[in-house]
């Protein structure tokens, strides 16, 4: 049994308690009723090495879903299978299906660039594209074909506001993005994705390189996002998973060991391996 260690910051506790209570009261009752992503017997291979084994998961619409597990457990591979970023690596293949709104992402008729815009990804190490802040956020839009300057400006501003970065950068949008700090860069990465108005946001260990304050800011941001998006977050830190307190899946060596609400997984783990992981015996 693990004790969820409260943050030594008064504000967070209050916010967390508030959110928790609201969630438990089913603040938005309709939320979480439709299934957005359905994963059926999904396996993934790098050459001969099998990285994912028969994954079965259901992720509901407008839900924050956490995937946790030690390094090498296949969490990142799984995330990248959703937006088919894994296709970039040569010699890979898969079995089974990942369906978004009923359509298999590996379907031959799928437009991959459209898929990736719809399931935007934020990486562990925030990487600014070598261009200005504005151009970074507008990048996906431009690739999509949007040229109208005014439209771009509108969307960029909105995205930066949604990512809680606007106030900090609104006066220096033409500055090179590499001038931003780590936490700002990560919020920039989120803005980049939001600008494309995806339905799903995939975050691969988004706070692993950040300081505690930036981490908190981003975790807070995630809960705001589920109003409009389905958010899937990968973390290797069980404490973070506990803190986030969402529906969680525990991955180990390419398999889903257990799924459930964070509360259930941490206080009443059904599988011994889960119990070992959450009590810190490994990982």
């Amino acid at each position: 049994m693990i004790e969820v260690i409260p943050e030594p910051m008064g504000d967070i506790e209050t916010v967390k308690a508030k959110d928790s209570a609201e969630r438990n009261n089913n603040r938005i009752p309709e939320r979480g009723s439709a299934v957005k992503i359905q994963v059926r017997d999904f396996s993934f291979f790098y050459g001969d090495h099998q990285a994912l084994r028969n994954i079965n998961l259901e992720i509901k619409r407008n839900q924050l879903f956490t995937i946790m597990g030690p390094s090498g457990s296949g969490k990142t591979t799984f995330l990248r299978a959703i937006n088919r970023l894994g296709d970039l690596i040569p010699n890979t293949r898969h079995k089974g299906s990942i369906r978004i709104d009923g359509v298999d992402v590996y379907d031959s008729g799928i437009d991959i660039t459209e898929l990736r815009r719809n399931a935007g990804m934020v990486f562990a190490l925030p990487v600014p594209l070598p261009m200005s802040i504005f151009d970074n956020v507008a990048y996906g839009l431009r690739m999509q074909g949007t040229r109208n300057r005014k439209k771009l400006e509108e969307i960029v501003e909105k995205a930066l506001q949604d990512a809680i970065l606007w106030d900090e950068v609104k006066d220096r949008l033409s500055d090179n993005a590499s001038r931003l700090s780590g936490g700002q860069l990560q919020r920039l990465s989120i803005a980049r994705v939001l600008a494309l108005e995806p339905e799903i946001i995939l975050l691969d260990e988004p706070t692993s390189g950040l300081d505690p304050i930036s981490t908190f800011k981003i975790e807070e941001l995630l809960w705001k996002l589920i109003d409009r998006y389905t958010v899937i977050m990968v973390t290797h830190n069980p404490l973070q998973a506990a803190r986030i307190d969402s529906d969680t899946a525990f991955f180990l060596t390419g398999e889903v060991v257990e799924t459930g609400s964070a509360y259930d997984i941490f206080t009443r783990p059904k599988d011994k391996r889960t119990e070992d992981y959450v009590s810190g015996k490994f990982g």
Partner: protein
């Protein structure tokens, strides 16, 4: 979306094939022009023939092959020790800032056109040799020295890269045993770098064999087999360049045939260099 990407891929592939198309054309045209005469004379006659006399219809290129050989050998004797030593100094001994500047300076040497080297050889080296060592001055030695200087940048930069590629762990092992820097270099770095050094030498050889203008200006261009370093000599490359301007008919074909021989020699050297560098990679 997917269709335009395939289009891009195939267009790029087409562009990329330019290089191989050019190579094919070069081989086709030169071989087409030069092989008839080799077929007529017989390859042995051509390569082993000791007389090159176009006016009489005699086309033996042995003197030129030997000329190229001796000139290249001299160039290596001069260029390799100096180049190797410089590379050792730059890679293992000099502080990195100095090393970078010096490397740049040596690369500058590579940028000087070959005709300038030939000219300096003509104006300074040839009279010097004539005065102090005898002979006409235009000689194997002159060409060897000029070429030796010209291949220095090649030797230095390839050897430098090879030294830099030797894992630091090797050196650390020696230093932990109390070895001096030179001992470390001699006993660990040099042996580890040996295949790369050999490759560098072969590449330098290739460059020397292929050099034309500088050699013409200092080697004397006599079509006899050289018996001493001080005698004038003609190389395969100079043979082509000197007579191409006015050669017709069979004479011209013979020059292209010389080109074929040159091409094959260099192809062998380049392949050898690549094989050596790869084979001994532990």
């Amino acid at each position: 979306m997917r269709r335009s990407e395939t289009l891009v891929q195939w267009s790029l592939a087409l562009v990329a094939l330019f290089a191989i198309a050019a190579l094919a054309l070069i081989i086709i045209f030169i071989f087409k022009e030069g092989s008839p005469i080799i077929a007529r004379l017989g390859i042995v006659e051509f390569i082993m023939g000791t007389k090159w006399s176009p006016s009489r219809g005699t086309f033996g290129i042995l003197p030129m092959i030997l000329g190229s050989f001796w000139v290249t050998l001299s160039a290596l004797v001069i260029g390799v020790p100096i180049g190797l030593a410089s590379a050792i100094f730059l890679a293992e001994m000099a502080p990195s800032g100095t090393s970078r500047i010096l490397k740049f300076a040596i690369q500058l040497l590579a940028g000087i056109p070959s005709v300038v080297f030939g000219f300096i050889g003509l104006v300074i080296l040839v009279p010097l040799i004539r005065q102090w060592l005898g002979g006409p001055g235009f000689s194997v030695l002159a060409a060897g020295i000029v070429l030796g200087i010209m291949i220095l940048p090649t030797i230095v930069s390839v050897c430098y890269d090879v030294f830099k590629a030797v894992p630091q762990a090797y050196r650390e092992g020696m230093i932990a045993l109390g070895a001096t820097r030179w001992q470390t270099i001699r006993m660990v770095v040099l042996p580890a770098a040996r295949p790369g050094i050999i490759a560098a030498i072969i590449l330098g050889m290739g460059r020397a064999v292929g050099e034309t203008m500088a050699v013409i200006m200092v080697a004397g261009n006599a079509t006899k087999i050289p018996v001493s370093l001080l005698e004038p000599v003609r190389t395969l490359t100079s043979n082509i360049a000197l007579e191409m301007g006015y050669a017709v008919g069979e004479h011209r074909e013979a020059l292209f045939a010389t080109g074929i021989v040159l091409f094959i020699i260099i192809a062998i050297l380049n392949t050898l260099a690549r094989v050596v560098a790869r084979v001994e990679k532990v």
